[in-house]
């Protein structure tokens, strides 16, 4: 048995923050009780002193690239899930753009079996919407679901054929799969390598207009309206997308949305020195967009914070800017960057944690996303006030591609408990 003592427990559903002790027995939470009720702790194998720490449901990241199979030199299921637990995540969903693409039950089963052998946390595969993500034929949603996929997405590109997208929404709902849409009109973004705005003009890089994203957000909202089937918009980055999603939600169209920490932490000025680690897709947007994303999180227009953790090796990043691959790692920076929004007063702590746990768990239909008696003991313990400089040796991913390297972060994960087992602990000191 494990006792978590003296921590401040966040319940993202009841919206409460209370000092509570938690008793874990085996895989499950046995008891949640007011502090100091337990005087004799001798029968616990482990007592975690969580004084001055936040105790939250195990965090859920619904947008991760684990790179296995196919690109194991960037990341594999072992290193990716280790980075996940180090970042406080007990559940992650992995995108299908591997090699081969996760477009068949055999690849889904492979990922799950590798996660079973080597994984530090729960892995939930997202399968492709179309065969080989080519946007031509639907994958076998039923078979994929049976194999363990929780959602479908052609992440990395949009499903261009509107009829195929329509049928995907209709068919996915029948099988209980979440459809996650990467919104980008490639004919409008073609050739672009950063946000189109005054910075792209000043530093001479071809731009990607916000509308390349918004056109597809609008289309997918309209398809959700047509089909009455839910759609989840991945990595929202623009003020215009926020407006469209707000409008859709007000009309009762079943749309949910996520953004990534870099879209509320960085803007296009991060690229002035041609830092390829800040090259992501969709690109880092303008200062106004960043403000809009923060407000959208506050107003619950954006439901989820997901990292879009995208490991790339120096082979893809230490090259000419336009040749560099898009993406940054994010599993270990999500918590401190999200806590910044709490410190800035944009989010309540319960709201922040909801977007990192209950929110995505509900959209994917996985885990409780809460701390409840009798529930699975998936718990994250965060030291919110610990400040540190992020260095390469702290990063558990195989790839170190993040513009936050060398930057000061505040807030660190101290313990990550997966099904009652401490899968990560950090005693890093100043």
């Amino acid at each position: 048995m494990i006792l978590i003592k003296g921590g401040t427990v966040v319940d993202p559903l009841k919206d409460t923050v209370k000092r509570l002790d938690i008793v874990i027995d085996g895989e499950r939470i046995k008891k949640i009780l007011p502090p100091d009720k337990i005087s004799d702790t001798s029968h616990f194998e482990k007592v975690i002193d969580a004084t001055n720490m936040i105790v939250t449901p195990g965090l859920v990241d619904m947008h991760v690239h684990l790179r296995e199979p196919g690109h194991e030199y960037k990341e594999d299921i072992r290193s990716g899930t280790l980075a996940a637990v180090a970042g406080g995540f007990t559940d992650i969903a992995c995108m299908p753009n591997t090699d081969p693409v996760n477009d068949s039950s055999s690849v889904t089963k492979f990922i799950l079996s590798r996660a079973g052998e080597d994984g530090f946390c729960h892995v939930h595969p997202i399968a492709a919407i179309s065969i080989n993500q080519e946007g031509k034929r639907l994958t076998e949603f039923g078979d994929l679901k049976r194999a363990g996929a929780v959602g479908v997405s052609d992440d990395g590109k949009s499903v261009l054929n509107s009829n195929l997208m329509r049928r995907a929404l209709e068919y996915a709902r029948y099988h209980g799969l979440t459809v996650i849409s990467h919104c980008e009109d490639p004919t409008l973004s073609e050739g672009g390598v950063m946000h189109e705005g005054y910075v792209s003009t000043q530093i001479g890089l071809p731009g990607i207009p916000s509308e390349a994203e918004e056109i597809m957000v609008a289309r997918d909202i309209l398809l959700a309206k047509l089909t009455r089937c839910p759609v989840h918009i991945a990595h929202v980055s623009t003020a215009g997308s926020v407006k469209l999603i707000k409008m859709a939600k007000e009309e009762g169209i079943p749309v949910t949305a996520e953004t990534a920490p870099h879209y509320f932490s960085l803007d296009h000025t991060a690229l002035i020195e041609y830092d390829t680690n800040a090259k992501v897709n969709p690109p880092l947007r303008s200062e106004k967009d960043v403000e809009a994303i923060k407000r959208a999180l506050r107003d619950d227009i954006i439901d989820v914070i997901a990292t879009d953790h995208a490991p790339h090796s120096p082979l893809e990043k230490e090259v000419e800017f336009d040749k560099a691959e898009s993406g940054m790692i994010g599993l270990q920076t999500a918590v401190p960057l999200t806590l910044n929004l709490v410190r800035e007063g944009f989010l309540e702590i319960t709201q922040a944690i909801r977007k990192l746990s209950y929110g995505p768990a509900r959209i994917l239909g996985i885990s409780e996303g809460r701390i409840v008696e009798g529930g699975k003991a998936n718990i994250t313990i965060i030291d919110p006030n610990f400040s540190y400089i992020l260095t390469e040796d702290m990063i558990f991913s195989k790839s170190k591609n993040t513009p936050f390297l060398g930057k000061e972060l505040k807030g660190i994960v101290r313990f990550t408990i997966v099904d009652g087992k401490i899968r990560f602990s950090s005693d890093i000191k100043p």
Binding site: E190, S200, E318, V319, E320, F321
Partner: protein
């Protein structure tokens, strides 16, 4: 006199007004070397200048090479087609390999914006940007300043129009930055498809009508139109471009009577500039070429010639 303290010349942005003044003064004193019978001084003897051109270039590469040779530097020329890039070597490896041979200065032209900045971070040698993607071409802007100063005396207060594909022109970007820095008033003109977003953030006026744009200007700079831009729908045809935006005789009548016409070359005669304009007595296009050698000598001298 203030000093010029830079390892590299990557961008006009990095230069102060005084830096630019120093470059122009040094260029001015070196210019007479070009016209000497014996075109050689020992200033850079024993220094190695490597010319690294990933994109085809005749005038810029030749200009740098002549500048280096007049100053007695040894030059090595590498082009993309002859380099190991063809064998799949990464730019970083190429740069490390070059570094191992300890050059003093690397002149780089590359099709990717920011490539010289990337190289400069990874090499001890001085790096001179000879044009990167659609970003900058700082030595072109400096030779343009030199030419304008030579013809007009002072740059401050001059009215300059730049006409063409502003969005995809590294010459335009460097010229705008340099001219604004030196106190000129700059108007950009061209089809709306070739105007980058928020160009006003660089402090320029935007005037789509080229006839209006050149009115009462002291200097008109034409830009090369790249045919391949047609593919991305920036303009329907060269004919249409020439009809509406080509610099012609009629425009010359709208400028100040003593206005000069400039073009970075190579020209598409009959497209962005009409032959009678290019060959008129108002054209200073060939002076630009000569001044290019002087300005590049100055830059080589200031980066690797002076005692540091």
């Amino acid at each position: 006199m203030s000093t010029f303290e830079h390892k590299d010349l990557l961008s006009i942005k990095q230069l102060s007004i005084s830096d630019i003044q120093i470059i122009l003064e040094v260029a001015n004193s070196l210019k007479e070397l070009i016209h000497r019978d014996i075109k050689k001084v020992p200033t850079l003897r024993g220094k190695n200048v490597t010319l690294f051109f990933y994109e085809p270039s005749t005038r810029t590469r030749t200009s740098f090479e002549i500048a280096a040779k007049i100053l007695s530097a040894d030059t090595v020329s590498i082009s993309a087609s002859a380099s190991s890039m063809q064998k799949g070597e990464t730019l970083l490896d190429t740069v490390k390999t070059l570094q191992a041979m300890n050059p003093d200065l690397l002149v780089i032209r590359h099709s990717s914006s920011g490539a010289p900045h990337f190289i400069a971070k990874n090499i001890k040698a001085s790096v001179v940007n000879a044009g990167d993607g659609i970003n900058e071409h700082p030595t072109q802007a400096l030779l343009d300043l030199f030419t304008i100063k030579e013809k007009k005396g002072d740059i401050k207060g001059l009215n300059v129009a730049i006409i063409g594909d502003i969005a995809h022109s590294r010459v335009a970007r460097s010229d705008i930055l340099a001219l604004k820095k030196m106190g000129a008033d700059v108007t950009v003109s061209g089809p709306p498809t070739m105007m980058p977003p928020d160009i006003e953030s660089l402090g320029v006026n935007v005037c789509y009508d080229p006839y209006e744009a050149v009115r009462n200007k002291d200097v008109v700079i034409g830009l090369r139109i790249q045919l391949e831009r047609q593919r991305t729908f920036l303009f329907p045809s060269l004919r249409e471009y020439a009809n509406f935006f080509g610099i012609n005789r009629k425009m010359l009548e709208l400028t100040k009577p003593d206005a000069i016409i400039m073009h970075p070359g190579p020209m598409n005669r009959g497209v962005e500039i009409m032959s009678d304009v290019a060959d008129s007595n108002r054209s200073v296009i060939l002076d630009q070429v000569t001044n290019g050698v002087a300005v590049r000598m100055a830059i080589l001298y200031l980066l690797i010639g002076s005692q540091k």
